[in-house]
Symmetry: C2
Subunit: 210 residues, 2 copies
């Protein structure tokens, strides 16, 4: 099994660069950095060279030439193949049409929330609200600057998307805090009782299902 079966989006990003013109891996990295793609796609050197190797093994890219300038380390230049181009378009299309389940850390945390006493939980959630507000503001300022620098919105859609998600999270958390503190969250009483007698600070065993 050649490595890299559409698991790491970095491979997609590499294809996207080579789809424009042949490059050596380090130049791919620079390009992605300059275009701020590394904020949407995790990029580090170990993975990069690994992914490139994988793409080569699967026939999606091939070596054009290896050159040496002065006594700099050798640079291996790659180009995309015919099948590589098709893979790029197919993969990108698939990512757009079909949502994939992502395991978010906050989702995990929420699923374990009842392990904390309700008051504590509300306090922590308030902190998150603060953080989210700051980050959203910062993100919006950054976007404004990009626009002012002449970059059309088209090239910022991924940021707009992330902002939309942040806003939704903010709304949800704000409401959750209100429901905990206002006592309107279904199951709250049970939750509170669990931490009343300090018999043993064990969290409630949420009833199984299915």
């Amino acid at each position: 099994m050649p490595p890299n079966n559409r698991s790491n989006p970095l491979a997609l990003a590499v294809l996207s660069c080579l789809y424009e013109r042949p490059m050596h891996p380090y130049e791919v990295a620079q390009t992605l950095r300059h275009r701020a793609k590394h904020e949407s796609i995790k990029l580090n050197y170990g993975s990069l060279y690994n992914v490139v190797e994988g793409l080569e093994k699967r026939g999606f890219i091939r070596v054009t030439e290896t050159v040496r300038e002065g006594r700099r380390p050798e640079r291996t230049i790659y180009e995309v193949t015919e099948t590589g181009s098709r893979e790029f378009i197919d993969w990108l299309s698939a990512l757009i049409t079909t949502p994939v389940k992502e395991y978010l850390q906050f989702e995990a945390a929420l699923s374990l929330l009842p392990a904390l006493p309700p008051g504590e939980a509300a306090a922590l959630l308030r902190e998150r609200i603060n953080e989210l507000e700051h980050r959203l503001n910062f993100s919006k300022l950054t976007m404004d600057n990009m626009r002012k620098a002449g970059l059309p919105r088209l090239f910022g859609v991924e940021n707009e998307y992330v902002e939309a998600l942040m806003q939704a999270e903010l709304d949800y958390v704000r409401n959750l805090v209100k429901e905990i503190e206002g006592g309107t969250l279904e199951g709250l009483e049970m939750w509170q009782h669990w931490f009343e007698g300090d018999t043993d600070k064990r969290p409630p065993p949420p009833t199984p299902e299915l």
Copy 2:
């Protein structure tokens, strides 16, 4: 460096189970499954046993006993330690207060969207809208059933959260399609021109920045 420095949320889930009572790893897995936590926290056996080993090495859990029933494979039962309990609460609290940057596949895809011709992109996004609508509906039905089965909302907050994100994504994508098809997306003309002359289907080099 002992493995597992708060990178894998599965370790948090393991702690949460042992925080209730001692168990063997397989029972941890069963418990998480029955409580549907595996929908919020990626769970597979390789990782599970790895993570347990890591937690033991770091002193967060310890072996209570190993028993053998009949000729079944041996079961190693673990319990959480004092420092383990503290780690659990600290880690969970940190996840709640501080958002972490997640690299979403769709975010990656959006950042490469200009590689596709605008009409194509809009069509693919429409497909996603359809998928999202179906999944949202399904999720809502599932939640309804859980509620009807007597599970209070408190134990479904992680699903409510995910639904909120899906709804936000749906709204964003709907609007994006409208802007592409209505011609109001800034940068659209450049995008269209790029694919007009079928000179060479190369995507536009998005202007670098910073």
